[in-house]
């Protein structure tokens, strides 16, 4: 599912990051790469998604979060 559809407190793994090279550079440099485990900390409508990746709380704006495909577990 899309990262924007994941609910708060869900844990999962980043599956696919769409978008252009520019986004790929920015998003991987801050720690979000394919295969990384993550936790959704907060996901309110019209707000950036707060996710916890590699011990870092990251705010990802909604438009970019749209192109991130994730697989959620627990």
């Amino acid at each position: 599912m899309k990262l924007t559809e994941a609910k708060a407190d869900m844990m999962g793994i980043i599956r696919r990051i769409g978008g252009d090279a520019r986004l790929a550079n920015r998003i991987t440099a801050i720690g979000i790469t394919e295969g990384t485990p993550f936790q959704v900390v907060k996901n309110d409508r019209n707000m950036p998604v707060l996710l916890y990746v590699r011990e870092t709380l990251i705010a990802l704006n909604r438009r970019d979060a749209e192109v991130v495909e994730v697989e959620v577990g627990a």
Partner: protein, 617 residues
């Protein structure tokens, strides 16, 4: 001389280390042919002088932003004898990305594990020896905000300069054949794998789940979180005001207490009255304006330094990202914009948090439309001369509402040039955990910034004062004999169209110089009891009596004229030091000038509209 370079991601504490190492021995320029800022400084340790180059901040080195290209080229060029790579030890794995990219360049380095105090508080330990063995470069656990730690760092720098170590291994991305975004992702994956290998066994535990504190939870709530943000900033400004007020009152006394005696002395020595007024009015007043501006910058930076340190500003950025992205900016612009309500100078330098030059320049242009604390004190005084208290409040609210319209207009017009859709990146930022501030560090940074403004203001304010002085000087002290009066009345037919008499137009002109000068000028042209010069430069008599001023203005100014003046003063260019700072921060004379012309024009047009609409009633 030996040169060391500082490299680190945003929030790695790079600027803290740079400031602590070099103190006030820094100079700022830009990288050749680029608008990216180049900060350099130096320090001396055990007889040897070291030049420190602060490399532009970015999250990595392989992107194609100006910052990343400059940094990579600089490191490749061997201009630095040694690079300090700073990482945030509390988020070690993610932060090591910069180290991974740096290692690929194969240059001598020290790895500095900053924020070890946070690591300790989290109950974690890091074994630096393991990392050291894996990389074959020295690894130093560090707390950048703690001044006592720098001896250790300098000592290590000294020994490494004489006996440098190059990272013994680096991520190998030669197997990646994919291009574009697929290639980037593949390479990043390899880099993080390399990081896990380097850190293998070095950390005793890592936290897999983030638990929000109560405060954090409240601050990130959709609606109440925003209200809470505003309240916190409001309290912040109150604190800033309390901190500033002693400096301000001392500064205000300078022209009165210093100007009078100097004037008498000049009289005694029969000094030429033109020259005498330079010493008795111009110089004391330049001091007053400079101290006043510096204390604004100090107060605002103290409060926002605190708010940033504890992690509040990152939450505010999260809260307002969506709203700001509607006007072409992003969440990170919230800090400079809020700072702008205190002081435009502070707001302009606060745009450093933005990701790239275009967004920075755009944010600065937008910050200009935020009325600073000084404007908020002028508006009620002018308004109360012709309006009832209720109307005054309505005017203030109306202005505040229009500020948001203005921001939208400014970013709409300049956004398409400075931050075109394709190049505009949305907000991707880390939110540091809410933590206790290092007060000493916050104070030091605020003092450093205030001192920098003070020094720069001395020259700028003095030079602009001289221009004003020529216009305002009158031999007999009467307004009518000044050049300003002659020019003002000559162009009055034109200014009338914009709803301004020669009197209010002078107030408008003064507002582009310093907001502190507006009331003085108005006092001179309306009350006229003291010379225009003395009033503008606050010399001779004690400060403006606002009661007398409002009565005088009220009897000579219509409501429409008063409104036109308020609008013109509020949306005029900010003070000369804000212009100076914008130029210094953007390194672009062209854009500073374009934005300045836009604001002057807009202020006049707005005044004309307000005046002519007002006349209908």
């Amino acid at each position: 001389m030996r040169t060391i370079a500082l490299l680190g991601q945003p929030n790695s504490g790079k600027s803290t280390v740079f400031n602590a190492l070099t103190g006030s021995r820094q100079h700022v320029g830009n990288w050749p042919g680029k608008t990216v800022e180049k900060s350099q400084g130096s320090f001396t340790y055990e007889g040897e002088t070291y030049e420190v180059v602060d490399l532009p901040g970015s999250y990595g080195l392989s992107g194609n932003s100006d910052e990343e290209i400059i940094t990579t080229e600089y490191i490749r060029s061997n201009q630095a004898d040694l690079t300090l790579v700073l990482v945030d030890a509390s988020q070690l794995e993610r932060s090591m990305f910069m180290m991974a990219e740096f290692a690929m360049l194969g240059k001598p380095a020290i790895l500095v594990l900053n924020m070890m105090d946070v690591v300790k508080n989290q109950g974690k330990t890091i074994n630096e020896t393991i990392i050291e063995n894996n990389l074959n470069i020295p690894v130093l656990p560090f707390v950048a905000a703690n001044g006592k730690e720098y001896d250790k760092l300098k000592n290590l720098i000294k020994s490494e300069i004489n006996n440098p170590h190059i990272p013994s291994n680096a991520p190998d991305v030669s197997s990646v054949t994919a291009e574009g975004e697929q290639g980037i992702q593949e390479k990043s994956r390899i880099k993080y794998e390399w990081i896990s290998n380097v850190l293998e066994g070095a950390q005793n535990q890592t936290s897999k789940k983030y638990v929000m504190t109560k405060f954090d939870r409240a601050l990130t709530t959709k609606f109440w979180g925003k209200i809470l943000c505003f309240l916190i900033v409001l309290v912040g400004f109150l604190v800033a005001m309390i901190v500033m007020s002693p400096f301000m009152s001392i500064a205000q006394m300078i022209p009165a207490y210093l100007g009078g005696p100097i004037a008498k002395l000049m009289d005694l020595w029969n000094v030429n009255p033109w020259l005498a007024s330079v010493f008795s009015a111009l110089i004391p007043n330049t001091l007053y304006f400079c101290i006043s501006m510096a204390s604004f910058v100090f107060g605002v930076n103290l409060v926002f330094g605190f708010l940033e340190e504890v992690g509040f500003l990152a939450r505010a950025a999260y809260q307002f990202d969506n709203i700001l992205s509607k006007i072409g900016l992003q969440g990170k612009a919230v800090c400079p914009l809020l700072m702008g309500f205190g002081c435009t100078i502070g707001g302009a330098s606060g745009t450093r948090v933005m990701d790239n030059w275009g967004q920075r320049m755009l944010a600065m242009a937008v910050v200009w439309s935020v009325p600073c604390a000084s404007i908020w004190t002028i508006i009620p005084i002018i308004a109360s001369s012709v309006f009832s208290p209720v109307e005054v409040i309505l005017i203030c609210v109306g202005i505040l509402c229009f500020v948001f319209v203005m921001m939208w207009i400014v970013s709409g017009i300049f956004g398409r040039f400075l931050s075109p859709k394709g190049s505009m990146g949305g907000m991707i930022m880390e939110l540091p955990p809410i933590h206790k501030p290092h007060w000493g560090h916050i104070f030091k940074e605020a003092i450093l910034k205030a001192w920098d403004i003070f020094k720069r203001a001395l020259v700028t304010v003095f030079l602009v004062s001289i221009i004003f002085w020529v216009f305002l000087f009158s031999v007999d002290g009467k307004v009518e004999s000044s050049l300003m009066y002659k020019v003002g009345t000559f162009i009055e037919p034109v200014t009338k169209f914009f709803g301004m008499s020669w009197r209010t137009f002078m107030g408008f002109v003064a507002s582009a110089f310093a907001k502190e000068a507006v009331l003085g000028v108005l006092n001179a042209v309306y009350v006229g009891q003291n010379s225009l010069m003395d009033a503008t430069f606050n010399a001779g008599s004690v400060a403006t009596d606002t009661g007398v001023l409002t009565t005088a203005m009220g009897s000579m100014m219509s409501k429409a004229e008063a409104l036109a003046l308020i609008v013109a003063v509020t949306f005029n260019v900010p003070c000369v030091m804000a212009l100076n700072t914008t130029f210094k921060e953007s390194h672009s004379f062209k854009w500073t000038a374009i934005v300045a012309c836009f604001y002057i024009g807009t202020a006049l047009v707005l005044a004309a509209v307000v005046y002519h609409v007002g006349m209908l009633f």
